[in-house]
């Protein structure tokens, strides 16, 4: 296996195994927004178009499995997005 494959595998394992057990408390900005009473200004403009809103895969009722699946899908999407982008921009390709 290529060495970078080890890191990709690590990333997939983090998404698969650790992400379902992440803290569900609001993050720093969300908490500050709640405390200072501007959290309700938040809007979800693209709600209808978001394929996996809040890291949940539609149709999977179990929250932990849903998060793990969304995590693995997102990790793979991110890899190919950056890989494809850099390939396209690479000076070697003309």
């Amino acid at each position: 296996m290529r060495k970078w494959g080890v890191i990709l595998l690590t990333a997939v394992l983090v998404a698969l195994i650790l992400s379902p057990f992440a803290s569900t408390h609001p993050d720093g900005l969300e908490k500050v927004a709640e405390n200072l009473a501007f959290a309700d200004k938040s809007e979800t403009l693209m709600a209808r178009f978001s394929p996996m809103p809040d890291y949940a895969v539609r149709g999977i009722s179990d929250g932990k499995i849903s998060t793990a699946m969304a995590g693995v899908i997102g990790t793979v999407i991110t890899f190919f997005a950056v890989f494809g982008l850099m390939k396209a921009l690479s000076p070697g390709r003309r």
Binding site: V6, V14, Y55, T67, F79, V82, F83, M86
Partner: protein
């Protein structure tokens, strides 16, 4: 600290988007020049790792969580320009697919976390590596770069919220700084471990051309010696 839609006004959205667009153009130019074909998968897996790690919220203080930002991690291993591209890509994927961070707020989020954070991490890391000549200087520089990268993003976020008239600066800056000072400690711990692990596996050595140690330095944003 992904800003959702609704928190920013039009002028802030347009200004931050313009600055971020310019910064990304600059990142692309700098990164593509120094990045060989063999470095491309390295950028991809670094982005994938940071995406995955960002999902793992850890508890800080009562009823609050934080997660890795990853700007310092990518900067220390690959330089600030590659790091900018990586974090921006992660933010775009999160916004488009997972409704994490607003679509209209994307420019602001990129400015805070993919432009300001890597630059802060870079300058703190370089400064400490240059002048700190004691044991564990590497670890201290990594930890400090991580902590400041989060704090700078928190300050930028506060400024944008204030500029938008969402909340007065003097009200928001202290709570944002305090909670992110705590999250920054988590950032520092995770980054220190991840730099050691990923650096070892991929044979990347942080350095940015500073030769104050026995390590062979890589070019600034040279993409490392990827295998």
């Amino acid at each position: 600290m992904h800003i959702p839609d609704g928190f920013l006004d039009a002028k802030t959205i347009i200004t931050t988007a313009a600055i971020s667009a310019y910064a990304i153009k600059n990142d692309v130019e700098k990164a593509r020049r120094s990045l060989g074909d063999r470095g491309i998968p390295v950028l991809g897996v670094m982005a994938a790792f940071i995406f995955a790690a960002q999902m793992v919220n850890f508890p800080v203080m009562a009823g609050t969580s934080g997660h890795l930002l990853g700007a310092a991690l990518a900067t220390i291993l690959l330089g600030p320009y590659s790091a900018g591209l990586i974090i921006a890509s992660v933010l775009i994927v999160q916004s488009l697919f997972f409704q994490d961070g607003g679509i209209l707020a994307l420019g602001a989020n990129i400015l805070n976390m993919a432009v300001a954070s890597p630059m802060a991490a870079y300058y703190i890391y370089v400064a400490l590596k240059k002048y700190a000549r004691f044991t564990c200087a590497d670890t201290i520089a990594t930890f400090a770069a991580s902590w400041f990268s989060v704090m700078v993003a928190a300050v930028f976020t506060s400024l944008e919220l204030a500029l938008s008239g969402t909340v007065p600066l003097k009200t928001v800056i202290l709570p944002m700084a305090m909670v992110h000072a705590a999250i920054g400690i988590g950032e520092g711990l995770i980054t220190t471990v991840a730099v050691a692990y990923i650096g070892r596996v991929l044979n990347l050595k942080a350095g940015f051309g500073i030769k104050n140690s026995a390590e062979t330095a890589i070019d600034v944003d040279g993409g490392g010696r990827a295998n």
